[in-house]
Symmetry: C2
Subunit: 289 residues, 2 copies
């Protein structure tokens, strides 16, 4: 099932549900058992935070949330290592990198300060700010995520004042490059390697690469989100494309703008027909000195 | 003068000022003549949008704003090319990359739909979303910026409904790595080249590099924003450091985590004493498989 990001129409923050089946029927969190809804390709769109993992923390405005797997269902304790490849764990990473909002549902067994008195409650949209691994209380490796509540949402009734994390607002680091379906397609075409340098940027769980629009999106440029306007680039070359470091010639050769030195031909797979008009539009944005 | 980011205490959105001197005295926009307040090193903290550049556009929620320079003061027309190195133009780019909020002041001569009837008015905080160069109406190169109003701010009284840019919200691309004073210092130490690969990522106006925290900022990690916890890295190696692609040994050698292959020693300048405790904390976040 493809994820549905954002609020579910007709389900305001604070809506309560008797059980997981009701939550699933409403479309708020569709899996009946899993804590995370989603997948690696498209991202995760919702989680249930119900205190079922011993390493979970709920601070109101932010959660330290443990990934799925390795838990003994009878005792709730970790009995094996987790990995980012298990279940929907990678989905939350995809949502982190793309900036997708994640619906958070709290269950009655979570931190009493913020949990509903019974059943489950939809508590609004969060973003995944970061992830990491750690050795949990039970001695096994777990994947963890920091989820942060988006600002300017009503508080669900009856919850405590959220805890403050004063350093966070001034130090938060974001690296969110919108991963459209088109960008995803182009990334797969090149097996997540850079079309300029062929480089693989390995991270835990795979290769990191970005979909880069040649003619920028949004006004005044209104470049299209289409395959003929999207490249698969490493972060270094994406930065250079966006900020006037490199330009592409009509012959699809990539040149460093400042020095005029040739970096090389853009690697192009059959069927990836870059629109010359977009390439020329981009060159006009970054004229020679 | 060092920029002061954010609202000025005691100056709510909608506050009007008779002239530039009053605006400067209130600390909302301190330069008396320049449209942009700030500098390359620290960023720009405010602009005045008063329609004095022929290529400016005001759409309410977003501005297409022209940089400084090349304008005939008598006629207001462009008579020479602009560059990102002139005046405070680079300051807005620094603010773009660091995500700093920019105070926007509108003057009476701007787009009548959004301009104050007379004088100047403080209209709230915007972020710089992107920048580029273009050939303006008068045939000269100008630097332009798209500034976007931060959400959930009151509208100044009497302004028209802002124009919609429907594609923007779903396609916006952000790459904001908080540039703290410490990060700035470390970047200068290495002349904006990567400590792992020595690479220069050139963009228009200089070299692009990021300040990377070894032990992450914010809870639960609460790494410090201090020189002994910050590296100067290209985007590729920053991504790898943050997402488990590379780890640093006690001997300061950098290894690709997945394959165990050595990338090389971390380049270290005298006086840059990395705290081993932070390096070990980072390694614990990204354990071997």
């Amino acid at each position: 099932m493809s994820p549905t990001f954002g609020h579910i129409p007709g389900v305001p923050i604070g809506t309560t549900f008797e059980n997981r089946a009701a939550l699933a029927a409403a479309g708020v969190h569709t899996p009946h058992m899993q804590g995370i809804s989603g997948n690696r390709e498209n991202g995760a769109d919702s989680i249930v935070a119900s205190g079922s993992y011993v390493d979970d923390e709920d601070h109101g405005d932010y959660l330290i949330y443990t990934g799925m797997g390795g838990r003994d269902l009878a005792t709730g304790r970790q009995i094996a290592d987790q990995s980012v490849d298990q279940y929907a764990n990678a989905g939350l990473i995809t949502s982190e990198l793309a900036g997708h909002p994640v619906r958070v549902v709290r269950g009655a067994n979570g931190n009493a300060l913020y949990a509903p008195p019974s059943g489950f409650r939809y508590d609004g949209l969060f973003t995944v700010e970061s992830h990491w691994m750690t050795t949990g209380q039970d001695g096994y490796k777990v994947v963890q995520y920091r989820l942060q509540r988006l600002p300017n949402q009503p508080e669900p009734e009856g919850v405590a004042e959220p805890e403050d994390d004063p350093a966070y607002a001034v130090t938060v680091v974001t690296r969110r490059i919108r991963n459209t379906a088109v960008a995803q397609h182009v990334k797969e075409m090149y097996e997540r390697t850079c079309q300029v340098c062929d480089r693989e940027v390995s991270i835990l769980g795979g290769l990191y690469v970005e979909g880069a629009h040649i003619r920028p999106l949004g006004r005044p440029h209104v470049g299209p989100d289409s395959v003929n306007n999207v490249l698969c680039l490493c972060p270094n070359h994406h930065v250079q494309l966006d900020y006037g470091g490199i330009v592409i010639g009509d012959d699809m050769r990539v040149t460093e703008r400042e020095t005029g030195s040739m970096i090389g031909p853009l690697r192009l797979k059959p069927g990836h027909n870059i629109d010359l008009a977009h390439v020329r539009y981009h060159r006009a944005l970054w004229p020679e000195a």
